[in-house]
C-alpha cells in the first residue's frame, strides 16, 4: 500500500512538472492528497474485480494495477497509451485488469457500475465492482438512479464516494445540507459508512467489509471517504484553489498527508525500517522516470487513423 500511494504521488507530481513545461497536451485533474482512498480501496480487490472511475482517475488506475508506462503514454497522447492516445487523462480504460473506464461526466459511472454488478450477478461469479466518484457527483440524478437500482437488485457493487469537500470551487455544504453524504444510503435501504480518507488503513477496513458483503451476495454499500485534494481542481486552478479555500485549511489537511502517516506507523510498528522505505522511494522514482522516458519516446497516433476504433464492425 505504501508503494502504491507513493507511485500515485510521484506520478502526479511528475505530471504537474511535465504539464508546466508544456509537455502534456490536455487538462490534468491530479489526485495528490487522496491516495489513501484509491489504494485502501483497490487493495481489497482482486485483479478480476472491476472499477469505474472519474475525471480524477489516475490514482484509481494505478491502484488497480495500471501499467505506469501505458498510463504515462496515454497522458502524453501517444499510440502506446492505454487508449492509443484517443482518451487522455480523463478517459483511461484497461479491461484486462478490470478498469472498465473513467468518465469525465460527473456521476456517469454510478449506473454503469450497477450494470457491471448485474452482469456479475447473471454470470454467477463472485466478482465485485467498485465505483469511484466525488461529492459533486452525489448530487446528480445518475447517483440516485444508480444507487436505487443497485440496492433494489442487491448488486455486488461498492460505491466509494471521495468527499474532498469541493465540487471544483463549490463547498459540499453549499450543495447539500448533509454533513455525511453517506446518510443518503439509508434512502435506498443500503449500508452507508464513513471512512477517514486520509488514512489508508481506515479506508481499507471499511471497503474490505463492504467488498466481502458484496461478494457474499449481500448487496451494495456506500463508503464515504473524507479526503482533500492538495492541488487545485485542475492544473491551472489559480493558487491551488486558494481562491475558494483558505491557506490555513489547506495546511491543516496537508498535516494529515496519508503517505508520511503510513510511513510513521510502519516504522513505529516495526513493519519497515526507514532504509526500506527509502529504497521503495528510489524504486518508485525510477519507475516514474522509466514511464516518462517510454512516453516521450513513443510514437504519436497517425492522422490517417483518426476514424479507427469507432465500431467493432
Amino acid at each position: 500500500m505504501y508503494r502504491n500511494m507513493l507511485r500515485i504521488r510521484h506520478f502526479e507530481e511528475r505530471l504537474a512538472e511535465e504539464s508546466a513545461q508544456g509537455n502534456i497536451p490536455g487538462l490534468l485533474h491530479l489526485y495528490v492528497g487522496e491516495e489513501a482512498v484509491a489504494v485502501g480501496t483497490c487493495s481489497t480487490l482482486r485483479k478480476d474485480d472491476y472499477i469505474t472511475s472519474t475525471h480524477r482517475g489516475h490514482g484509481h488506475c494505478i491502484a488497480k494495477g495500471g501499467d505506469l508506462r501505458k498510463m504515462m503514454a496515454e497522458l502524453f497522447a501517444k499510440e502506446t497509451g492505454y487508449c492509443k492516445g484517443r482518451g487522455g487523462s480523463m478517459h483511461i480504460a484497461a479491461p484486462d485488469i478490470g478498469i472498465v473506464g473513467c468518465s469525465a461526466i460527473a456521476g456517469a459511472g454510478i449506473p454503469i457500475a450497477a450494470g457491471v454488478g448485474l452482469s456479475i450477478k447473471l454470470r454467477k461469479t463472485d466478482q465485485v465492482c467498485v465505483s469511484f466518484f466525488g461529492d459533486g457527483a452525489s448530487n446528480t440524478g445518475a447517483f440516485h438512479e444508480g444507487m436505487n437500482l443497485a440496492a433494489l437488485w442487491e448488486l455486488p457493487v461498492v460505491y466509494v464516494l471521495e468527499n474532498n469537500l469541493y465540487a471544483i470551487s463549490t463547498p459540499t455544504l453549499k450543495s447539500t445540507r448533509l454533513k455525511n453524504i453517506s446518510d443518503r444510503a439509508a434512502a435506498y435501504d443500503m449500508r452507508g459508512v464513513v471512512a477517514d480518507g486520509m488514512d489508508v488503513l481506515s479506508v481499507y477496513e471499511s471497503v474490505s467489509d463492504a467488498v466481502s458483503k458484496a461478494r457474499r451476495g449481500e448487496g451494495p454499500t456506500l463508503v464515504e471517504c473524507k479526503t482533500y485534494r492538495f492541488r487545485g481542481h485542475h492544473e491551472g486552478d489559480p493558487k491551488r484553489g486558494e481562491t475558494y479555500r483558505s491557506k490555513q485549511e489547506m495546511e491543516e489537511w496537508e498535516k494529515r498527508d496519508p503517505i508520511p502517516k503510513l510511513a510513521s506507523k510502519m516504522i513505529k510498528d516495526r513493519k519497515a525500517t526507514q532504509d526500506e522505505l527509502d529504497l521503495i522511494n528510489r524504486e518508485v522514482t525510477n519507475e516514474i522516470e522509466d514511464a516518462v522516458a517510454f512516453a516521450k519516446q513513443s510514437p504519436s497516433p497517425k492522422p490517417e487513423d483518426a476514424t479507427s476504433y469507432l465500431f467493432v464492425s
Binding site: A108, I112, L122, G146, L310
Partner: protein, 344 residues
Amino acid sequence: MSETRELDFAEAIREAIRQEMLRDNTVLVLGEDVGKFGGIFGCTKGLQAEFGEERVRDTPISESAIVGAAIGAAVTGMHPIAELEFMDFIGCPMDQVFNQMAKIRYMFGGSMKVPVVLRTPCGSRYPVACGAAHHSQSLEAWFMHVPGLKVVTPSMPYDAKGLLINAIRGEDPVLFVEHKILYYAKRMASLRGPYPTLIQKVPEEPYVIPFGKADIKRPGEDVTVVATMMMVHKSLRVAEELSKKGISMEVIDPRTLVPLDKQTIVDSVRKTGKVMVVSEDVKTGGVAAEIAAVIMEEAFDYLDAPVRRVSALDVPIPYAPVLESTVVPQERHITEAVLEAVGQ
C-alpha cells in the same frame, strides 16, 4: 421445416428477442414494464414467463439507470436489450446514450465493446391515438449526429426481425427505433386496408439482415422517394395511387440511417433524375436534410430537379388531430411533392 407466418411488427420484434435469448444466455431484457406486463406495446409479452425475472427485468422509472446498467452489463460480457417506453423519454438518459454508450469504444482506443441494443418507439400515432408533445416525436436524426451509434429504422416486420437479430448478434451499440403505428396492425383492421405491408410473411427461423443495405420497396422510373419507417407505408400507398395516373415512383427504405446505404440512393437518382426524402422528424436539421445533402454531394450531376424534403413542420407535435395531421407528413403531402417533382 421452416414455416412462414403472417406477423405484425411487434410479433416480429418479440420473436427476434425470444430466439436470441434461446440462442445466447448473455442476452437479457430490461426496461419499464417489460416483464409481466409485456412492454407498453406488447413487444416483450411472455418473455418473463419463459426466461424468468433475472433475464427479463422490470426497472424503476430511471432511464439513466436503464441505459447505464445496460452499458455496464455490455462491457462485461452481456448482450442487453434495453427498452425506453417512448423515444420522447430519451432526454432523461441522454448522457448515457451519447457520451457513454456511443463513445466508450472510440475513446478507450478500441479496447472495449458496448453491445447494447436500445429499443425505443417513435412517431405520431395519428389516427390511432393522439400522443401530443411528449409521446409522438421522431428524434432519430439526433443520433445520426453522434458518431459511435448505429441507428436502425425498420419499416416492416420482415426487416424488423432480421435487423434486430443482427443488432443483438453484433458487438456495437445500436439505437433501434420502432414506429409505434406499426405495432397496431393486427389490433386495428382499419390500418391494414391502406397499409397492407404492416403485416408480412416472416420466416420462423432466425435470419440476419445486414446494416447499411437499403431495400427498394417498390421499383419505379419517374421519381425516387427515400422514406423511413411509417413514411415507407404512406409512400407505397401514394405510389399505388399515382401509378393509376401513369407516374412510376421508386420507393427506397434505407432501413438503417447509420450506416446509410448511399449507393442504392445514388443509383436510383441516376435512373430517375428526381428525388424526394420523406421522413417524419422535423424538417430543420433532420433525416431528410442529411440524406438530401448526401444526394447533393454524390448525385448532383444526375438531378433534373431540386431535391425535395417532406418532413414534419418545425413545431412540437400538437394534440388536436386536425393539427397533428397537418404537422406530420400524410399521403397528401407526399402526393403534392411527387406531382411537383414530375411537373404535374
